[in-house]
């Protein structure tokens, strides 16, 4: 009997278990998935928790219910990976031998990386919404907040779901407008990048959103420390942005297992071939989703596309055949713009998001890079798709792992 071990039962790991249980010969392969936690969160839903649009119960289910029959779930913390002996060491001291290892340990916020972020003001005037706890603490704060300077802030790239901070700013505009207190709130968006939009066609198509919603942009701001007492964030160049309420996206980092195992980059991401998803650590170790260092967006849609390609490559690897360099960086995301509307973007390593129709060329029904109510309904419907289609690895109709150029206006 051979062993395939998956580390992490989040979006990517669960999808891999669901794919592989259907493809691998059960008399030859035993699949084990390791995760220390009990809850599977629908992370895209965290964006809606602070505004009370989603309730806590809308975004959580148990990990167990998505682990397919025939896959063994081990609920233990991972200590390290010993690539030389093909072994995963668990916190309990138990060892798991593997023939193939798939790392799907994701990325998480590391608020301790910036001085002054954690401390007396954390969850008092400084919040994140990338964690369940943070999103709920922020919801409670927003219920009674009287207004003032709201600063939405990205510490540094890369982050999970790079559009979520902007969506938060858009939804905040709607939220305060609906509460009849928009005139009491000043919204500022602070980014380490050169602007809220960094790609040419997005900048042209979307800059109006910031103006219409009266959101001020502070670009090129790399935070050095946060002064909670005086309510300001300070960058390395000495510039300051004052806040009454700071919603920050802390530094995102990969799992510390990588550091303990002696591989992983400065941010604990796994060095991975961006087209085959085989790691450069060892040929029998693969990686998928947010834990890799590939220059794709850290997002569920990316993990979904990767899962189809990685499944094929695992089968090729088992057969001793050459892997296919098929992952093209494809991502597909709805972007909430507030007031019941959303955008849809579809892009990959090579092609930036452009206008057009999706998924059917010339027909749609979804419009790319253009606000619509239908896109907003698409975003809300996606929660059902996530639990019922994505995690069990059911094929999504008409949506291919590789990006399609059809129906897009590149010029």
């Amino acid at each position: 009997m051979k062993n395939l071990v998956i580390l992490g039962a989040g979006t990517a790991g669960t999808m891999m278990a669901s794919h592989l249980i259907k493809k691998l010969n059960k008399s030859e392969w035993k699949i084990t998935i390791v995760d220390q936690y009990k809850t599977h969160y629908y992370q895209p839903g965290f964006l809606f928790l602070p505004f009370d649009t989603y309730k806590p119960e809308d975004v959580k289910k148990t990990i167990d219910e998505f682990i397919p029959k025939g896959v063994k779930l081990v609920r233990e913390k991972i200590e390290s990976i010993d690539k030389d002996s093909d072994t995963v060491l668990l916190d309990t001291g138990e060892k798991l031998k593997y023939d193939i290892l798939i790392i799907a340990t994701g990325t998480k916020t590391a608020p301790g990386e910036v001085e002054g972020m954690l401390g007396d003001y954390w969850y008092k005037t400084i919040f994140d919404f990338y964690t369940f706890e943070g999103a709920l603490a922020l919801r409670d704060k927003l219920k009674t907040w009287k207004g003032g300077k709201l600063v939405v802030h990205i510490t540094e790239m890369p982050i999970k779901c790079p559009v979520a901070p902007l969506e938060f700013a858009f939804l905040a505009d709607s939220f305060f407008l609906n509460k009849g207190m928009r005139d009491k709130v000043e919204i500022t968006y602070v980014t380490p990048l050169s602007g809220a939009f960094t790609k040419e066609k997005c900048t042209t198509a979307l800059t109006y959103l910031l103006k219409d919603k009266n959101i001020k942009i502070v670009p090129d701001f790399a935070v050095e420390h946060i002064d909670g007492e005086n309510g300001k964030i300070v960058d390395y160049g000495g510039d300051e942005v004052p806040f009454d309420l700071l919603v920050t996206i802390p530094t995102n980092m990969g799992d510390e297992v990588m550091a303990r195992s002696g591989f992983g980059d400065d941010m604990n991401y796994v060095p991975t071939d961006k087209h085959t998803l085989q790691t450069t650590v060892k040929e029998n170790i693969f990686a998928i989703g947010d834990c890799t260092n590939v220059p794709a967006s850290k997002a569920g849609s990316v993990a979904h596309f990767q899962a189809e390609i990685l499944t094929e490559n695992i089968l090729l690897y088992i057969d001793g055949k050459e892997l296919k360099p098929d992952f093209d960086g494809h991502a597909n995301c709805f972007i909430e713009t507030g007031h019941g509307k959303a955008l849809l973007i579809d892009f990959n390593y090579e092609y930036e998001p452009v206008k057009g129709k999706f998924p059917f060329a010339g027909i749609g029904p979804l419009n790319l890079l253009t606000e619509s109510r239908l896109n907003h309904w698409g975003k809300l419907a996606f929660r059902w798709i996530y639990w019922n289609m994505l995690l069990p690895a059911r094929k999504l109709p008409f949506i291919t792992p590789k990006m399609s150029k059809a129906g897009k206006n590149f010029n």
Partner: protein, 103 residues
């Protein structure tokens, strides 16, 4: 589009970033530095540029924190070398693309 730096015509994007790293040389970096208000390009600047180019060739997304952990400079020194948007300016001088998000 094309732009002439140090007497050499190179292809650049709409923000003036080189689109082909093989066209890069040190004189070009010095001229871009001048445009960005860096009067003197020191060996330390070039060490950072070389690091960025190496990371770019390995397809690794650049972060200020990553440069800070590179062992070449810490983040404060990076700011001192490339004031006002260090990654943006150093990337331009290194002849690699501007740091981008997905939109």
């Amino acid at each position: 589009m094309e732009k002439v730096y140090a007497g050499k015509s190179v292809s650049v994007d709409s923000n003036g970033y080189l689109t082909d790293l093989s066209q890069w040389n040190k004189e070009i970096a010095i001229e871009i530095g001048k445009e960005e208000g860096i009067e003197e390009v020191t060996p330390k600047h070039f060490e950072v540029l070389a690091y960025l180019q190496e990371q770019h060739k390995k397809d690794i997304a650049l972060t200020i924190r990553g440069v800070g952990k590179s062992g070449i400079v810490d983040i404060k020194e990076l700011y001192a070398l490339f004031p006002k948007g260090p990654l943006k300016i150093s990337s331009k001088m290194a002849g690699i693309p501007r740091p981008k998000s997905c939109i």
